[in-house]
Symmetry: C2
Subunit: 231 residues, 2 copies
């Protein structure tokens, strides 16, 4: 099952609350493993039912389809990240420290929590890295967004915006910066593993992102203006 934290995820994500039953919890845990194994495209409820010793029909009682299940899993991850960030920032006052700790929380999302033996957090993070964007890069983003399916991601961004704003209240792109940091974190991990020429060897993703954010927010006048020469 999913670890200790049990956020109230949007009820449109599921048909029946998977956290409420044994089968539901095993569904969640095993789906992460299976997604990690074979990827979202090859993943089916039939295969999942097989490893669970259950049936397709039973699983369809929890989730309308695998897309919703994916979005559920990603939402859970985002909720968990929010929690981690909140804890990491607790009692840290210095704005620069706050950014630092937030980025540590975001980038160390893959570390396994030994308190949850039957839930593979490292596998979830691999699934997040490889599949998260498929949760919203679909033709029904707008419909899904309308019913709140991306609430957790948007909340995570909303939580981080003040962290960034604190360093430079005049910065005009704090939402864009935050979403770029989150998306880039995933991408750079993926690239490092699979398309290394799209990153730099031995890159510390957190250090890269922290430098990026701090320098953007330091915003010395010399960085800001677009060049004035003719096009």
């Amino acid at each position: 099952m999913l670890p200790t934290l049990r956020p109230d995820l949007n009820e449109h994500l599921y048909l029946r609350d998977p956290q409420g039953t044994d089968l539901g919890r095993r569904l969640l845990a095993e789906s992460v493993r299976l997604l990690d194994d074979i990827g979202f495209e090859a993943f089916t409820f039939k295969k999942l039912a097989l490893v669970l010793g259950s049936t397709e029909a039973s699983l369809y009682r929890y989730f309308e389809n695998k897309q919703r299940l994916l979005t559920y899993l990603m939402s859970w991850h985002w909720a968990w990240l929010r929690f981690r960030v909140r804890v990491a920032l607790h009692n840290v006052a210095d704005p620069r420290q706050r950014l630092h700790h937030a980025l540590v929380a975001i980038c160390q999302a893959s570390v396994d929590d030994p308190a949850t033996p039957d839930f593979d957090e490292a596998a979830l993070y691999r699934v997040v890295v490889a599949e998260a964007s498929k949760a919203y890069l679909t033709k029904d983003v707008d419909a899904n967004n309308r019913v709140g399916l991306f609430r957790e991601y948007k909340q995570l961004v909303a939580d981080l915006v003040p962290v960034v704003q604190a360093l430079n209240p005049a910065y005009a792109h704090s939402h864009a910066l935050v979403s770029t940091l989150l998306e880039s974190a995933r991408n750079q991990y993926f690239f490092a593993k699979h398309l290394p020429s799209l990153t730099d060897p031995g890159t510390d993703v957190r250090a890269f992102l922290e430098h990026l954010a701090l320098s953007a927010l330091a915003a010395p006048a010399s960085c800001t203006p677009a060049p004035a020469v003719a096009s």
Copy 2:
């Protein structure tokens, strides 16, 4: 058909060169329209055959599957971007100007070329924004990468790295920065349209990215170090 530019895309992308025949060229043009219409998940060769007045079997002679077709289309886009960047940077010497023009080329990828009436470039860019990452976020990235399917994207990054390096030869993350700029450009367009709370209202993506890159590369010492306080 695809516009004037005819790059030599990796031959593993297709079974039969679609640029070499009339049906092949119509396949490419219509697939963009159909992908834009219904999205990658709902897209099938059967539906495409229908709008082409052709048959499934005929289309499967060009592409092994829709994944390869998508990667072909994205590769064509990346090759075209490379070309646009090259043209934009021609005879521009000032490093800051070069970055500026490169980003203009990248961010204005959606403008339609009136020279190619039967090819909808705006539609291709929408498809790129929504679907490009699905070309590599799969379980067979590594196999596909090995046979060169992502050559164009990697080349685009490789072309842009010197542009960035010229502004700061000591910068340690130029590959990560370039790939972040490219990925972020797509993401921010998508967010602006579908998940606006993940960007800032009225954001000029190019201006955002240019400020981000310039400030990261300006790298005053005050931005660089991680904070020294206890964790």
